[in-house]
């Protein structure tokens, strides 16, 4: 059974999630990928005000395709999260709470997740057309010149994801594969 989760999430709410939990996300999440991360990080280091409040915020690593008529976005599945690993620990320390993407993270990110009571979730890579149906509204809030890489404020509803990294140091990529291999051997 999937757990319904409202974004933004409180620290208390992230505490109850465990690696391997299926969740359905509803609420506000910001898009940011390579170019936006680089820019946001530069702004943080220069002490500038970010285009959205990072404290308690949720970020979806995605660059959607252009919207079809009547839709908020086009195809919108996750991109590989690890390309943002260089910037992520600083962002987590500044309050980022929920990350949604796909693929493994660095040890530094894992430690920062635990340290800050954050959570890292994965969505199904390559299922962008289906996931787009869970995105009800999209509004560019920063860096429109980046095209697909602009920061968008998304309103999502029952967006399916799975918890990969939890605040207890759990990593579902490791445990899921190990459990499968155990059953495959026996």
């Amino acid at each position: 059974m999937a757990i319904s989760v409202t974004l933004p999430m409180t620290k208390e709410a992230t505490t109850s999630l465990r690696a391997g939990d299926s969740v359905l996300l509803s609420g506000t999440i910001y898009t940011a990928r390579d170019a936006a991360h680089q820019r946001l990080h530069e702004m943080m280091q220069a002490g500038e005000t970010l285009p959205f409040d990072l404290d308690g915020a949720s970020i979806y690593y995605v660059g959607p395709s252009p919207a079809q008529p009547g839709m908020a976005v086009g195809s919108a599945g996750p991109t590989t999260s690890s390309r943002c690993d260089k910037y992520t620990p600083d962002m987590l320390d500044a309050g980022l709470r929920v990350m949604l993407g796909k693929g493994k993270r660095s040890d530094a990110v894992k430690q920062a997740v635990v340290r800050n009571s954050a959570v890292y979730l994965a969505a199904t890579g390559g299922a962008g057309a289906m996931l787009a149906r869970c995105i009800k509204d999209a509004e560019i809030v920063a860096f429109p010149e980046f095209g697909t890489e602009a920061v968008r404020k998304l309103t999502i509803e029952n967006f399916p994801a799975v918890v990969i990294l939890d605040i207890h140091g759990g990593d579902y990529y490791e445990t899921a594969r190990q459990s499968y291999l155990k059953t495959a051997e026996s």
């Binding site: 079809q68 195809s75 796909k102 299922a127 890489e149």
Partner: protein, 278 residues
């Protein structure tokens, strides 16, 4: 000489870009359905169901938001005369048209370090072969970079032999893990020079998933490598399971007495390509 107008090339390329990004080829679908039937792990079954629902219901929406760099393979008959302009310009205009009108994502930056988006997904990556005959075959294979980034090349030595190849392929898939959106398709290029091996690996990815290498020795190696990959347990999306790869193809060519180049081009389950013969 048979004449082909550049405007025909442009229209065809534009159409193929949209088709490739929205309709998964039948051979890939069949592989996914078959894997779903034999997948024992329930998480993996659920993920394959999502992937199936995605390609069965996407309609005009791209299967994946990463509609890739447009890799365009041209097999140009030597008796074809292209008229009305430059062939490569015609291809690029087609890519720009397809990606713009088809609402596909523009994912190309004009310079690798200064990184400004070209906003029309050009330039295409164009690969040309001159072949006998009077036809022009165009294949558009959009390539996502989640999987491209996990591809690798090794200049193995003759003494590394077939075991070296097996080891390198498995290591590459292991290293790709969940990042390249498994279940994967894997293209392996063996032989040639540094650059030719990479090209062979890319060409292996557009081969039909029913066609094994014509040489039984390599056909057998394809089967063995796929089996070994599917014993790694990575599974769909890296969450465990038998279905780590849907298919593996090998392309080979002659090489130097001192070398054994091996390139592994990783592709995801969104293995997209569309072809037309003019």
């Amino acid at each position: 000489m048979r004449e082909i107008q550049v405007s025909t090339v442009t229209d065809t390329v534009a159409r193929l870009c949209v088709q490739a990004c929205t309709v998964l080829p039948e051979d890939v679908k069949t592989r996914i359905y078959d894997s779903r039937k034999t997948e024992p792990w329930s998480t993996a079954q659920d993920i394959l169901d999502v992937i199936i629902e995605n390609f069965e219901t996407n309609g005009p929406i791209p299967l994946c938001q990463d509609t890739g760099m447009a890799c365009v393979f041209l097999e140009l008959g030597q008796e074809v005369h292209i008229t009305g302009g430059s062939l490569y310009d015609a291809v690029n205009v087609g890519v720009a048209k397809g990606y713009t009108d088809g609402l596909l994502r523009k994912s190309v930056v004009g310079d690798p370090l200064r990184r400004v988006n070209t906003n029309d997904n050009t330039p295409a990556m164009i690969y040309t072969d001159i072949v006998p005959g009077d036809r022009l075959t165009i294949t558009v294979a959009p390539k996502g970079f989640g999987s491209e980034n996990m591809s690798r090349i090794a200049m193995l030595k003759p003494a590394d032999g077939i075991d070296g190849i097996k080891k390198f392929v498995l290591e590459t898939v292991e290293n790709a893990g969940p990042n390249a959106c498994p279940p994967l398709t894997v293209g392996v290029g063996i032989g040639g020079t540094f650059d030719k091996a990479a090209l062979l690996a890319k060409k292996a990815l557009i081969r039909d998933m029913d066609a094994h290498h014509p040489d039984p020795f390599y056909a057998q190696l394809e089967t063995e490598l796929l089996d070994n990959i599917n014993r790694l347990g990575i599974g769909p999306q890296g969450l465990g399971g038998k279905t780590t790869a849907l298919w593996l193809s090998i392309e080979t060519m002659a090489t130097h007495i001192a070398g054994l180049p091996c390139a592994v081009n990783i592709n995801c389950h969104s293995t997209r390509h569309a072809k037309e013969v003019l």
